[in-house]
Amino acid sequence: MPSALPYVLAATFLVPGILALLIRDPCRSRVVGFGGGAVASFLGLVLTLVGAMREAPVRIPLPAPVPWAASELFLDGLSAFFLVLVFFIGFLVSVYAIGYMKEFDARRRGQAAPLLLNLLLLSMAFVVSAGDMLSFLLGWEAMSLASYFLVVLNHEKREARQAGLIYLIATHIGTGGILLAFLFLVQTTGSFSFNGFATVPISDPAILCATFWFALLGFGTKAGVFPFHIWLPYAHPEAPSPVSAVMSGVMIKMGIYGIVRFLFYLLPSPPASFGATLLALGLLSGVFGVLYAIVQHDLKRLLAFHSVENIGIILIGIGAASLCQATGRPDAARLLLVGGLFHVLNHATFKALLFLGAGAVLQGTHTRNIEKLGGLMRGMPLTGVAFLAGSLAISAVPPFNGFASEFTIYRGLWAAVGGAGTGGIYLAAMAGLALIGGLAVVCFVKVVGTVFLGNARSAQASAARDPSVAMEFPMGTLALFCLGLGVFPSIVLDRLMEITSFLSSAGGPASVAVPAAGGKPFTVAIALAIAIGGLWLLRTFLLRRNGQRAGGTWGCGFPYATPRMQYTASSFADPILHVFRGILRPHTTRTERLSGRFLLEVEHETHFHDLLENGLYLPVYRLFVRAAFQARRLHPGYIHLYLGYILGAVVLLLVFFH
């Protein structure tokens, strides 16, 4: 690969972005900026698929940002896989943004969006291909900043500013963690490059542990892993939808990339506790994520919580893989890692699709509150079909891709159970995964049912129409991929098996990736297609013979049903809420409006407070603020006191520092 290629690619991302900033006409600016991003992403995708994937590992030296270390791009299979992810989603989202970002036209700041989005994509590509910690950190922070500015693109809104702030602070703390983890490695190996890190193992177990925990803090924050996830449900809803799609689909995966890079590449032979920790966190993220998702009624916030859930699933795969690796079960480890990575791609596909769909809904109806939507399938059939495909995929319904990767994880877990000793952990993981899957079905039946089916609950919802082609094309493509990757998973699985070949025991059977007897998704898909198709034909035939007429929904004899009497999303979630009320902690407030003695209106409002947010982060924050207010007393303005400080300092130093 010629070493000038990265620069060319960077230029194709940045030049249109800068041009977009300069072009006055907002429409043209959009087309140039996002279109340029799409072209660059496509170029990157092609280059990665035909170049980097084949030639990996590729090394390209870079000018270092600092004189004391060298920088390089280092592209191995793992990097190439994530690059595909970045460019693939980047391409589709850029195309989508051409249509979607129209709503920012009226205001000047929309013109910065293409540059920021392109910068975000470029920095993510840089992060996964960085071969040393310095370039990695630069890319990482560029990514964080670019995404921060994209989150606050709507900065007139207080919520957007606040969300951006929470996000930026969280990610900054995370960067601190990553920095420390890297520095421990630097300290041990004396090298700044990833290849250098991998050569010398950390001998001190305490340092090794610290390295892992700091890395987990850093990457886990970015990924939205359970205890560090609090920024995610704030930032994703406030960002413009294409940005949410990129953030949720790709950016949080950078955290996963970091964890995989650390666990399987940089820390040679990590102890079993690391994998077990990740597995446990994965389960927690999965269950908490989906539970919080179920009770949301903000569409994008709900999707954001699902990102937490899916990151949990990915972590289950990765954590179990590390655990298996540490306990000498490399074949299961390989399968688990492959499953986890495959889920990374699949989650990117369907979550991007869902966010883009949510964007289309938002643009059509101007509300994110699903209680105000309904019946959109009529006005926006294409969006509806695509969203349904994404929902089936995220609920892991076969033969969609969400299932394909979870299936791989399951098979890995099952293979791990077979061994002696710690099988219980894997069984628990399987049960947890099953619960997560079941709850995801609940959530997405709720979403699709209340948003797209039934009757419109508001005027905006009934007036909504499908968006422009620029927005439909990416959604359609992603929907096709959701199905295609589910039916033909081996396209990706085989590649991933190659990437993870370092985990195999003695060469390892390459056939593990192809599901064993009875698991061929293609067969099942065909069987389903035949059965359902046949029955559909039968139904059509019978209906033509027997007749069909339209009538109102049966209301148990009550003829005046209105759309408002439909089952609401909150009611739909109630059974689950009831069971898990100990975790979800609903707070219901009731407000009454009286006119004289007559009750005019009663309003019930239920809020859910994040357990961690209320139990951990807010108290710590309040404590800090209280301390800060106390500290103001240090500066009351009296010069006497100030001089006293000096006197005291000198006396203390004289007496104690000799």
Binding site: Y638, H640, L643, L647, L654, V655
Partner: protein
């Protein structure tokens, strides 16, 4: 030499406990005069150098600065009392404690004999000056405290025999003089703007 040190300390003590500003200023001038003797005792050769330094000391410390302060007192028409945040007893006690800690500190740093006495005496004077700045209410008493503090440093400098080239020594005097001069100007401005000199009441700038 030791006699002068003791005298300086006593004068410093007097300034610290006196309740009248003019008295304090007079003692300050006396301190300056005593300090002027130190170059002759500590490093008498070459004589012209000692004479120059002594002259500068007298000029700045016993003439110029007391003049500025006296002028300020008369211009400002302030009451002659030195108001303090703490009682005289407490401030005596504090001075004692600080003096003790100065000796302890010098001992802990491994100084002994003449070094210890000189350093500790200098530090004591310095601390009592700083204590005055810390506890006195009026701006002018703070300036007096500052001069006492400087005197403490001069005392130690002279007793430890440190010497620099003449331009630097003169620069040091000039700096001190300008500092006190500026403080004087500021005091006048403060008096004009705030119509009082009570530093306690000047605390708008705070967190």
């Amino acid at each position: 030499m030791n006699t002068i040190t003791i005298l300086l300390l006593l004068l410093g003590f007097h300034i610290a406990v006196t309740e009248r500003i003019p008295t304090a200023i007079r003692s300050l001038a006396a301190q300056g005069a005593l300090l002027a003797l130190l170059p002759f005792l500590a490093s008498p050769r070459p004589l012209w150098r000692a004479a120059a330094l002594g002259f500068a000391t007298v000029a700045v410390k016993s003439v110029a600065i007391p003049a500025i302060l006296t002028h300020a007192v008369s211009r400002l028409e302030i009451k002659r009392e030195t108001e303090s945040l703490v009682s005289t007893k407490t401030s005596v006690l504090l001075t004692g404690v600080l003096s003790l800690s100065a000796f302890v500190a010098c001992a802990r740093f491994g100084l002994s004999g003449q070094d210890q006495l000189g350093a500790a005496a200098g530090l004591t004077l310095l601390f009592s000056g700083l204590l005055m700045m810390t506890t006195r209410v009026k701006a002018i008493t703070q300036v007096i405290g500052f001069v006492v503090l400087e005197n403490g440093i001069f005392l130690f400098g002279a007793s430890s025999g440190s010497e620099f080239t003449l331009p630097i020594e003169l620069g040091i005097f000039l700096d001190l003089f300008v500092a006190v001069f500026l403080m004087g100007i500021l005091m006048l401005k403060i008096q004009r703007t705030f119509t009082h000199m009570d530093v306690r009441k000047i605390h708008t700038l705070k967190d």
